[in-house]
């Protein structure tokens, strides 16, 4: 019964995401598509963060850093191409099939370095240190005046996708949705695989895992890097959506908001984080549209979720207990 309800919810979510471009002309045009694109992109970030929070019990409070790095990679590549300034001999690029994987690579490398350090600790140390390192990356980009520093870096146009221009909002939405589908697929295989078993085993009982001969550190590091890469991809998409990357994409508030999305939707559930991203953006947009003091209401809303709905929307639908 519970399973059926959650399957239904997942089905509804997929149907809604696919229906958006067809329904958009009747309910607000490109604005709706843009909002839906944000939901999809933040859905990817939330999904990747859930690999850490939900599956590995690693509460990372610095996930925005990898998101922002991904955004900067595409903005910087486009900046060098547009201004005819080679970057270490590379002319820069505006081709999505080049710069998006590059964004993932850079975010993944950053996650590798930061993760290697942070994963030496655990629990509350881990929370604070991931936050502190993200803040460090934030400050580095604020100080990078060549790339706009605090002002951020604008892109003249969206990336080309296999040589084609993506000017149409709907086309871009389909690309983002495709990326989300790919990430969902990867995440799903990851969590049922042997690798995923070790991660969730480590989340469930670290001592038992050690006694069975698992050095959990290496597995967690790989998970941290994979999550960083997915966030990097999302960042690349987000920079394309806005044609703009800025240190704001790395701010600790955004890291906090990503966590809220994951938990609002439901930790350790495949579709929960995506639902969380949708609900979060919906609530935030409508509240901030209604009152400039929206935080007064949004804060307690987050608080109530933390206190009374720790398993999020997915948990509510699925029912308690099992």
């Amino acid at each position: 019964m519970g399973l059926n309800r959650s399957t239904l919810l997942a089905f509804l979510l997929i149907a809604a995401l696919i229906a958006v471009p067809f329904a958009a002309p009747y309910i607000g045009g490109n604005y709706i598509i843009t909002q839906a694109t944000r939901v999809v992109i933040f859905g990817i970030v939330a999904l990747s963060l859930d690999l850490l929070i939900g599956r590995s019990n690693l509460v990372s409070f610095g996930h925005a850093a990898y998101f922002g790095l991904g955004g900067y990679v595409v903005a910087i590549a486009s900046f060098h191409l547009a201004n005819d300034i080679p970057l270490l001999g590379w002319a820069g690029s505006n081709e999505a099939l080049v710069v998006w994987p590059l964004a993932m690579l850079v975010s993944g490398l950053a996650a590798l370095v930061v993760g290697a350090l942070c994963l030496r600790t655990s629990g509350v140390y881990f929370i604070m240190i991931t936050l502190a390192f993200a803040q460090m990356i934030y400050f580095i980009f604020v100080a990078l005046k060549f790339y706009g520093g605090d002002d951020g870096l604008s892109m003249r146009s969206r990336n080309l996708f296999a040589g084609e221009r993506i000017t149409n909002a709907t086309t871009f939405y389909w690309i983002c949705l495709g990326a989300l589908a790919l990430c969902l697929l990867v995440q799903w295989r990851l969590i049922v695989s042997r690798f995923g078993r070790v991660l969730s085993g480590g989340a469930a009982n670290e001592r038992r895992m050690a006694a069975m001969g698992y050095s959990i550190y290496a597995y967690r590091l790989v998970a941290f890097v994979i999550a960083g890469m997915m966030a990097g991809l999302a960042g690349a998409l987000y920079a394309n959506l806005n044609r703009f990357a800025s240190p704001d994409m790395m701010s600790w508030l955004l890291s906090g908001e990503f966590m809220v999305m994951v938990i609002m939707g439901g930790v350790a559930s495949l579709f929960g984080p995506i639902i969380g991203a949708a609900v979060f953006l919906l609530v935030e947009t409508s509240l901030s549209g209604a009152t400039e003091h929206w935080q007064i209401f949004f804060g307690p809303f987050v608080l109530l979720i933390a206190l009374y709905a720790p398993r999020g929307v997915w948990g509510l639908v699925r029912g308690g207990g099992k």
């Binding site: 929370i127 604070m128 906090g256 935080q295 804060g299 720790p310």
Partner: protein, 304 residues
């Protein structure tokens, strides 16, 4: 030489302010295992309460009691209503709930006081400067802040090392059973400690209010630096918080003062200035990274 002395004093003053915040945060974590992101909000509330009351009454001295009262009261109410249900919960729930609190407090202050930064006047008696060395004047108020910081540090040391409350605090959350076996009402103890932490945060807030501008968001800047302090010092350790504060406060101040100057030895002027400023702003994180590589649980790890 004079410059160095002045910079060292500046670093010391920052360190002591950080210590007030770090002590509260590390106590709350050490004894009740709660990570409280809203600690920075208590600092902000202290500053706002002090500055508003001082402006209303036209007497800056009234800022101190009102800030202490406000932050301690809010802290106690917060503990009772929100933090208490979080004791049994994981860090994730704690982070999320206190993140919500930050949003709320920021929104609340913006609504109640307004967004423009407000200022607090320094008490007239402390508003000048004292010539600590010939040709080196130093703001009286900053000296007073240092004095207060040292007094609080000593007071905390006394409480923790010499009193029954301190013994209970040292026993920590791991030995909850033992503490309860001593006939101590653990709920009251937790409320007290949380209130004390809030009070110290409020004190830090009101003390810096006349120096810095009082504005929404001031709590978060300082919160992250405080995190760095207690991670470096070892979470739960008051001694660690003190050493960590000194290390981070000094690194930050001296880094800002000397990084550009040192870099000028190798780089041209404006590049050195820009790069030096960047280096200075990430200096404390580098220190943290180095400490973690050598000692993953901080300089003074607690419990094993």
């Amino acid at each position: 030489m004079q410059l160095l002395i002045e910079q060292l004093l500046n670093g010391l003053q920052l360190s002591l302010t950080l210590f007030l915040l770090a002590a509260g945060l590390t106590l709350v974590f050490g004894i009740m295992g709660v990570i409280n992101l809203a600690h920075g909000s208590l600092y902000m509330l202290g500053a706002y309460a002090g500055a508003s009351v001082a402006a209303k009454l036209g007497n800056p001295w009234m800022a101190l009691p009102s800030a202490l009262l406000a932050s301690a009261l809010v802290g106690i109410v917060m503990e009772y209503l929100i933090v208490r249900p979080l004791y049994a919960r994981d860090h994730l729930a704690q982070v999320l709930a206190t993140f919500g609190l930050i949003l709320f407090f920021n929104g609340f202050i913006a609504w109640a006081v307004g967004r423009p930064p407000i200022m607090m006047d320094t008490p007239a008696a402390l508003s000048g400067f004292i010539e600590i060395l010939p040709g080196l004047p130093y703001p009286t108020y900053r000296l007073a802040v240092m004095g207060a910081g040292v007094c609080v540090a000593l007071g905390l040391w006394y409480i923790i090392a010499r009193t029954r409350l301190g013994m209970l605090i040292r026993a920590g959350s791991d030995k909850r059973d033992m503490v309860e076996a001593l006939g101590v009402n653990i709920a009251v103890l937790f409320t007290l400690v949380f209130g004390l932490g809030a009070l110290l945060a409020g004190l830090a807030g009101v003390m810096v209010a006349p120096i810095r501008s009082v504005q929404v968001g001031m709590g978060e800047q300082v919160l992250i630096t405080t995190f760095v302090v207690i991670v470096v010092g070892g979470i739960g350790s008051i001694r660690g918080a003190f050493i960590g504060s000194l290390l981070i406060g000094m690194c930050d101040t001296l880094g800002r003062a000397y990084a550009p100057i040192l870099l000028k030895l190798w780089l041209s002027g404006s590049i050195a200035d820009g790069f030096g400023a960047a280096l200075a702003s990430i200096m404390i994180y580098l220190v943290m990274a180095i400490v973690l590589i050598v000692k993953p649980r901080g300089l003074f790890p607690v419990g094993g």
